[in-house]
Amino acid sequence: MNIKNLFQLKPYEHVEMLIRKHPIFLIWDVVFFAVLAALPVGVVALLQTVSPTILTGPISMPIVAVLGSIYYLAIWLFFFSMVIDYYLDIWVVTNDRLIAVQQQGLFARTISEMDLWLVQDVTSEVKGISATLFGYGTLSLETAGKEERFHFANAADPPHVRQKILALAEADRKYHIGNSVLNKVGL
């Protein structure tokens, strides 16, 4: 099973693009992990100045090793969970609809979808120094019929994505209107 099995593609439907958060957020996760991984090195250096035998003592060495192992396994798991969260938070845009999958921690995810031909407005917002420098921002979609809005925070290249979604929505609208006209005339 993969993400495409979360929804059934219609016969005429194909995936146009996948939207994720900007990679800079993944890089921040890596930097954060690197800092956490480097912390014990400083702690060990400090301990060695206080008590030089702490890493070789028959009792203290196993204690330090077990604590170190727990620490590194914990931050490794924490880092992997952050990467998975980044990897699984995604908007799948097809030529017919938009499917938003949001991973919320380990045990929860939200999946919602919207027909592209109902999209009335797409807003991209790039706000702040970092967002302007790296080119990320928030995408918001509004539909014609409902009050519902779709938001994607920290999406990569939102102005380009906005244009592409609008173009796809326009093409899908034409397709649906064309089909309804053909249905009305009985073809």
Partner: protein
């Protein structure tokens, strides 16, 4: 108190680690968007975990786990 008692909380931690890792790995595989990206993530995680476990094993394997804390050992910074 024998120091092998230290291994009990460590084993409990490893159990919790295993459960959470499995959930993450299953999520990564079930909801993957690409075969290679998901495979790379999973293999990288397993490799990192293997390295940590291997280093821990190498450090802990020569330890005499039946040593008793407090038996003839003075807890000064130099002997601890």
């Amino acid at each position: 108190m024998p120091i092998y008692l230290l291994l009990i909380p460590y084993a409990l931690f490893l159990l919790i680690f295993l459960v959470f890792s499995l959930v993450d790995l299953i999520n990564a595989w079930r909801f993957r968007t690409g075969f290679f990206s998901a495979s790379f993530l999973i293999l990288a995680y397993l490799a990192g975990t293997a390295v940590i476990i291997f280093v821990t094993y190498n450090l802990l394997s020569p330890v005499d786990w039946f040593q008793v804390i407090g038996a003839g050992i003075k807890f000064t910074p130099l002997t601890l």
